[in-house]
Amino acid sequence: MLENYLPVLLQVLIAGGFAGATLLISVLLGKAAARNRVKDSAYECGMVPVGEGQSRFSVKFYIVAMLFVLFDIEVVFLYPWAVIFKDYVAIHGTAIFWSALCFVTVLFIAYAYAWKKGALDWKH
C-alpha cells in the first residue's frame, strides 16, 4: 500500500545523491588542463566544424513519436484488462474478450492505415 512507496522516495534521494556525488568527486579530483579554441570546438573527426550543431531533423522521427504516444495509450488500456481477464472469463463469460477485440481491431485499422500511407516507412 502507500507505505510501500516510501522506499521508492528514499531510493530517488540515494540515486540522485550518488549521481551528484560522483560528478562532484570527478570535478574535485580530475586535473584541469588549459583550454584552447580547438579543444572547445565541437568534434567533427578533426575537421573544423561546419554549420550549426543542431540541424533540423527528418519529420519521420516526429511521426514516430506521435504514433508512439497513440499506441502507447492503447497498450495502457490493455493492462487493466489483462490482469482481470482470467477471473472475469471464469465468472462473467467471454464479453470481456469481444470488448477488447473490438478495441484492438479499431486500433489495428489505425495501424494498417498508417502503414498503408507509408508513415512507418523509413526509406522514402
Binding site: 521508492v8 531510493q11 560522483t22
Partner: protein
Amino acid sequence: MDALFASIDLFFLAISAVKIVLLVFAVILPMVAYSVYAERRFSAIIQDRVGPNRTGIPLTLFGFKKDIQILGIGGLLQPMADGLKFILKEDFTPGHVNKFYYWLAPCLTMVPALLTCAVMPFGSELDLNWFGIAQPIKSVIADLNVGPLYMFAISSLGVYGIVLAGWSSNSKYPFLGGVRSSSQMISYEISLGLSIIPVLMIFGELNLSKMSAYQDANGWLLVPLWGDSAPWSNGWHFGRWLLWIPVCISFVIFTISMFAETNRTPFDLAECETELVAGYHTEYSSMKFALFFLGEYAAMIIGSGLAVTLFLGGWSIPFAPLLSKLTGLQFHFVPGATPLYTGLLHIATFFAKVFGCILFFIWVRWTLPRFRFDQLMALGWKVFFELALVNVILTAGILIWCPLK
C-alpha cells in the same frame, strides 16, 4: 496521509535504506563493473584474443617482482583501475555546449536505471530471527502492485537523458545519435509493453513478488515442469502446455525489444562508430561519460532481471518442490516460514540467472552484425507490433478455450 505518517515506523525505513544501499552499491554497481570486465574478456575469447589480463594488486610499484593476480584470473582488478581513471581524468566541459543540460543529461540516464531496481524481487524472504527481527524481511525494496508498469514508466524517463545529451552537446554526431536513439527506444517500448500482456493474463497479477512465488510453486513460465504444470499432477491439463506457445513468442519479443531498449548490438545504431563516432556521448568525457556507461549497463542488468522474473521464475530454484521432497531440506518458498539458508539461496539463484542473461547479451553483441536504421524501425513497427498484438489475442483465446485451474 496522516494515518500514513502515524504508521511509518522508522524500523521499516531503516531496513529499506539498508536494502537500497546494499542492492545498489554492493550488488548492482559491482555487477555493472564486472559485466564490463566480463564483456571484454568474453569478446576476447570470441575473437581469439587475450583481453585485459594484467591488472592485479600492483606490488611492482613497491619493488616486488610480480603483481598479485587475484584468484589466478588475470585482470580481476581492471574495473577498479577503470573507475579510478574515470575519476582522475580531466573533467572537461566544452565551450560550445549548453552547460546546465550537458551536466544534467548523464544524471538523467543513471538515476532512472538505478530507480527501476526498486521493484525487482531479488529473493523471497530473509528470516532474521537469529538477529532478533521477528518478521521475515522481504527481499525487495518496494513491493508495489504495479511492478512492471513502474519499471516501464521509470525507464521511459531514461529517454530524456539521451535526448538532452544529444541536444545540449550542440554538435552534429551527438545530436543525430540522440534523436536516433530516442526514437528507437520509444518504438520498442510499445512492443515491450505489449509483449508482457500475455504474461500478465496468465498470472492475473501485476505484482512481481507474487509472480515469482507462483512460478516457484508451479513451474517457470518457460519451463512448466513441476507443481501444477507437471503432466503427472492433478492440476495439469492441456491448456497449460498450449500456453507455452504464446509465452515463447512473448519471450522472444521481450528479449529482442530489451536489446533495442538498452541500445545494445545489434541495435546500437545510436553509437555506431562508423557513422556517428560515439553517438550521443561523443562530447562527453571523464565521470560524465562513465555515468552514461553505468546507466546503460545498469539498464541491461535490470532488463535481464525483469526477463528472469517474468519468464524464468525470478528467484525460484528449478524443481524446488521436488528437490525439497527428495532431500528433506526446504528449497521452495513458504510465506513466513522460509529458512534463512533458502532465502539466501534464492538471492544467489536470482543473481546467477541474471548473470546468465548478461552473458547472453554479451554473446549476442559479439556475434551479430548491426542492423540498418530502416530495418530496425521496420522490425519494431511492422513485425513486433503486429506479432505481439496477435499474441495477446491468441493467449486470450487459449485461456478461454482451456481455462487455468
